[in-house]
Every structure is written in structure tokens, then in C-alpha cells.
Symmetry: C2
DNA sequence: TTGTATGCGTTATCAC
DNA sequence: GTGATAACGCATACAA
């Protein structure tokens, strides 16, 4: 078994040292060890190290010295169990995040982990491959008191995770929000997808385009309808007809965007602009245009949504709507930590205004 | 305080429900609650749920039913404390990972988290901003028994983290390895940087280039010397002179690569090819070439190292050496979990052969 | 100022 | 089959 031997006195250190050499395993020093070496009780040791003022200064110094000598580090698990608090927030990495092209979740996680660390919180990441596992992962880490709260990303229509967390009154914040017809009665941070897509489409209409295709996202995602609405809003505002056959669906991955664009351009050669629900598919659409011998920004304008790093460095640069993903991660983590600390009157939600970024894939006004 | 009330019987559920409505906080159900509701001891409840065979089948069924009704979820912290094992591996996100361009750590983490989850391990991520904090973060999560082992990435010369972990006999695996003059007496996974850079440089020499600049990385990084050696090896093998003034240092970020390349090309107009220690700087070098009105692959060939996604999608595509970062993450996590489980005779190290990827930034043979 | 006793939620040991 | 009891390592109410 682990930790077959223990040592309690400084004099025994040598023995401990040698047995440590034999034993491959890490040998922890507990409060009891320090107490024994200092010749006082565990309680006093705990209080001395904890900085309480009801302990003799000399005793404290002796204890602190010995603790350092022994290399004492408190057992975080035991502390957390006693304090009934994990000082940790949880995040479940969904399957989609494992696509090599994905920047979204990586950026979000960086923002989250940055804020978490700044507030002395750790971040527990659980990778899951199916959506069922994902719910179970939340149940395990949340109800298992493994973390004090969780962050939910990429919401679905009627999201089972949100339902579960709400039912159990468990602290959580959502990156994203509900679909338009669902209640938003939980804390969230999201970019205004509808306004964002509206801006790109209006931008292309302003350039004189009349036949604009739209590559939509999977219908089960909560933001899909918002973005589709943005597309229809912009058409309606310009008195352009909405044509259902100008809308195709992709799975947010680059390849599906390429297929979708090929499909659109083959079926409707009159299309001169394509707006995509996210950047990855927009980049695929650019590839599609080039593959049929046409030029992006000359024959067909392309627009996206997200402004991932690749959007800036692709050639031509991709016109898109900037969604501050890293910042959203920071905001989400801040809200969650406030809720955990009982500091905030749970805000209902933050909606960020996205920013239109015009690059060369827009081409020139017709 | 938290959890002011508890309920033990099914009949009390209503009360619990209402007090839950009043109380904003999550109310956990413990083994004791289930035991009380089932009318048996905590011990039996634990064994029934744990699947032990020394418990009456009817009792088991009753307990399982009640546990489900009450929504019992085991307290992971308590379990871990009792089992003396966290089923978690730790990873400290260094400052460099927070640069928006960084793909390296994101990919590595994805690989790690994927394998961790597949082995029922969670991943604890701690973000740190300075190198001192980084060491402290390792001490806290490692010695605090918060995790069963840690992964160390981007090694430094004389890395204090490795020193600490080794001294304390703590399970760890390194992504990367020591500098050439240091011992490699710990488990690691790394790509053969030296061979990789040698390949790119040799490739350019084969194309007829004789004046090849090199953008090196910060000297405190352990891999810097390996890559520089690779550069010198290739020159020597072709009987080309090594010129110290053809070598400049960057900080691995894109901007520094751009500056470095501008500097090189201004001071040495005869340079026709530039190899960079990583892709981000190589992409910056491409920008530098373009900014002075020259063409990448025509006037100046550019080569990198890593093969990050951007390398493929940039225009022209970047010739580089593919380092399977995601896969390294997987391997590192696998090794660590094996070590934690005591399954593996600690391997000393895995060195992966990188693969040369020729793209348009190479141009044509002179 | 210090020590004793108890509890956090779980599992393991050993009686019955 | 089942149930007290102790233990994991720490923190705290209370007593001395």
C-alpha cells in the first residue's frame, strides 16, 4: 500500500529519507507529523500555520520552522472536504472541441482559466465524447462537490445540462444562451448573434449584392435561429425576398462549409455572396469558391462569424463579425466566481455587441 | 452556514424541497441520507451501491431505488481523501499559452484531456503568469495531493519544476526534454528538434540556397540549442560556413519573427532563405518579406517548425516540420497515468521523428 | 495559550 | 448479511 511508514520526529528524518529512496512513491508530510516534531497538538499546529493570533509567538515560530524543514504542504482534499468548498470551477470540453481546427473552446478555456487563477480558483476540465457523457460529467463533478460551480458552453435547444443544473440549484454560468423561444432565466454571457449576422448581410447588401446565400449551423444549437434571424432581418430591411433554398446547413466544421458552398453555387449560379454562421465554415466556403476557379471577393464575397485568428491570416482576409471569445471566457468565469462567493445578485445575462470586421473577402461594391 | 438543514426520510422530501426553494444553495444528498431513508446503516448502503456481493439482493435493490429517488451522488472529495488518490492529473498553463496566436498549449492540452478522460481521470488546469508562480502552482497541487501526477511542458534549462518534482519523488512526465548538456533522467516525450531543423535546412540547401538565416528561440528554453544544432549540422554536412551573424533570436511570438526577419534581410541582403525555430515566428518572417516588397518562395524561402494549423492555411503555405502536438499530449498523458497506476517501468523517454512538410514557401529550386 | 473532541463523507476492518 | 468503529487530513467549538 501507499505510505507504509510515517515519521514524526526530526531525528527520524534520516530514516524517512532512506525509505523514500527505496520507495518510488511520494511521501506526504501531514499536520500530525509537524505537530509531533514540534511537540504540540495538531490543533495548535493548525492554528499556528493558519495565522491565528491565539497562539504563542515562540510556539508559532517553532512550528513554522519545522513545517518548512519537513516540507509540509496542506492536503487540499482534506481542507476542501472540511470547508465544504472546492475552490475550483468546472468546465466540460465537448467533442467538438477536439477538432483540430477548433479555436473556440481553446480560447474560451484560456479566458476562463486566467480569471480562475487570478481568484485563487483552479479549473477542472473534463473531456467528453458524446452528449450523454457530457451530462453525466456535469452530474459527477457538480453533484459530487468536486467543483463549486460549472460553466456550460455551446448551448443546445432545451439544453439538458441547464435543466439539470437549474433543477438542482447548482451554481453555473452559460457561455451562450437559450434559443429565441426559450426562457433565459439563468446567468449567461453571449454575443448578439442576430445583430452580428445582420451587420454582415447588410454590409453585403450595401455593396449591391442581391443574391446572398447563408450557411447555417445545426438546428439543435441554440444560436442557430438567432443567426438565421439576423440573415432574414437584413434581407427584410432591404426589401429583398427570403429564399429558403438559399440556406444550407453545415456542422460548423470547415469541410462542411466547403461542401455547403459548392452546393449553393452549383444550384444557384446567380449567388454573389455567401454568409456563414461561423468562420470555420466560411473558410471552407472560400476554398469552395477557389476550387471552382472563381475568385473570393471578386466573383463571390464571403462573410463569417467569430473572428478566429485564421480569419485574419487567411488570404484573402475574411470579413467577419468579431466575437471576443477570450473575453467572454473571462466574463463567464468572473460571474461564476461572484455567484459562488455569494457576492453578486445573479445577473440575468450579458449580451455583447459584436463588431463587423471588413477584410478583402468582401471585395469591392458592385 | 451552508446546509443548515438535512432530510433523511422520503416523507421529509417535501420540506426539503421547500427549504431548497428558499435557500439559494445546492443541497447535497449524502450516504447517510440514503441510509436513513432506506432504514439501514451507512456501511450497508455504501456496499450496496458499491456493488459488493455480501449484501442481500432485496436490500440492494431497495437502497438503489432510494438513492436514485433522492438523486444521490457520491462526494468525490471524501472518496478521494479516503482512497488517497485524486484520479486527476495536473497541468499548469504558462503565461506564454495566453498569447492569442498560441496553438501549442491548446493542442497539447486537448490531447492530454482526451486521454485523461478516457482513463477516468480529470484534468486540473492552473493558469500562471510568472515562472515563480508556476513553480508554486506545481508545489501546491502536487504536494497538496490535489492531483496524482503532473505534466510539465516547455522545459527550461535547469528547470526548477523538474528539480522540485524529482526531489520529492512526485509522479510527472515532461513534454519536451532537457538541454543537450543536461541529464534526461525522467520520463518525457519530445520531437527530435535537431533532426527536424536539420531536415528543413538541408531541404533549402538542396534547393541551392547558400545564405540561410536562422531565427532562434530564447536561450533559456531547453530546445533552443537542439534546433540551433540542427541548423549547424545541416550547414556543416554541406560544407557551408556557419555565420553567427546569420542567427537572430526571437521570443517565439509572431511579431518577434517579423522583426527578426526584417533585421536579417536588412543586414544581409544576400540571404535567400530563412528558417525559424517555430511556425509563429516563421509566419511573422513571411510578413516581413512581403512588407519589403519581396515574394515569399520567390525571393526568399521560409521554413518553420511545428506545423500549426495556420501553417497550412497561410498563403503561401508554410514549409515546416510537423510535430504531432496533439499526439504528444496523448502520449504524455498515457505515460503519466501508467506511472500513477504503477503499471509501467518508467520509460526514460520517447523521441518522435518529425516529418518535413514542403509547401509553397519553399519556392522552386534555384 | 493550549489541548480534547467532533465532524466533513466516504470506505475498510472486524466484529456479530 | 449487517452494523459499529476507525481512518483519511484538516478545521473548529469548546473546555481547560
Amino acid at each position: 500500500m501507499r505510505n507504509p511508514k510515517r515519521f514524526g520526529h526530526l531525528q527520524d528524518c534520516k530514516i524517512a529519507y532512506f525509505s523514500l529512496k527505496e520507495d518510488v512513491l511520494f511521501m506526504p508530510v501531514t499536520l500530525k507529523d509537524v505537530a509531533a516534531a514540534a511537540g504540540c497538538s495538531v490543533t495548535t499546529t493548525s492554528r499556528a500555520l493558519g495565522g491565528y493570533d491565539d497562539v504563542n509567538e515562540q510556539t508559532r515560530e517553532r512550528i513554522i520552522t519545522i513545517a518548512k524543514e519537513l516540507g509540509y504542504q496542506p492536503n487540499v482534499l482534506a481542507r476542501q472536504l472540511q470547508a465544504q468548498r472546492a475552490d475550483t470551477i468546472g468546465f466540460v470540453f465537448p467533442q467538438a472541441a477536439h477538432q483540430p481546427d477548433d479555436d473556440f473552446f481553446s480560447l474560451l478555456m484560456k479566458g476562463i482559466s486566467y480569471v480562475a487563477s487570478n481568484n485563487q480558483f483552479d479549473l477542472l476540465v473534463s473531456s467528453q465524447l458524446t452528449q450523454e457523457d457530457e451530462l453525466r460529467a456535469y452530474q459527477r463533478i457538480a453533484a459530487g462537490r468536486r467543483v463549486d460551480g460549472v460553466i456550460v458552453a455551446r448551448t443546445l435547444r432545451n439544453d439538458p445540462r441547464i435543466k439539470y443544473l437549474k433543477n438542482n440549484n447548482y451554481p453555473f454560468v452559460v457561455s451562450g444562451r437559450s434559443a429565441p423561444d426559450e426562457p433565459d432565466d439563468f446567468p449567461y454571457v453571449d454575443a448578439d448573434s442576430q445583430a452580428g449576422i445582420r451587420q454582415v448581410v447588410a454590409h453585403f447588401i450595401g455593396y449591391g449584392h442581391e443574391h446572398i446565400g447563408f450557411i447555417s449551423s445545426p438546428p439543435e444549437l441554440a444560436f442557430t435561429e438567432y443567426r438565421l434571424h439576423g440573415y432574414r432581418d437584413a434581407l427584410a430591411a432591404a426589401n429583398l425576398p427570403y429564399r429558403a433554398d438559399y440556406v444550407v446547413h453545415g456542422d460548423l466544421q470547415r469541410e462542411s462549409g466547403q461542401q455547403a458552398a459548392e452546393d449553393l453555387l452549383r444550384r444557384h449560379p446567380q449567388i454573389t455572396a455567401i454568409v456563414s454562421s461561423n468562420d470555420a465554415m466560411a473558410l471552407g466556403a472560400m476554398a469552395a469558391v477557389q476550387s471552382i476557379g472563381k475568385q473570393v471577393g471578386v466573383d463571390v464575397a464571403i462573410g463569417g462569424f467569430d473572428d478566429i485568428p485564421l480569419a485574419r491570416y487567411s488570404v484573402p482576409g475574411l470579413t467577419t463579425v468579431r466575437q471576443p471569445i477570450y473575453h467572454i471566457g473571462e466574463l463567464v468565469a468572473e460571474m461564476l466566481i461572484q455567484i459562488i462567493n455569494g457576492e453578486a445578485p445573479e445577473e440575468t445575462g450579458i449580451l455583447l455587441e459584436p463588431e463587423l470586421i471588413v477584410r478583402d473577402s468582401s471585395g469591392q461594391p458592385l
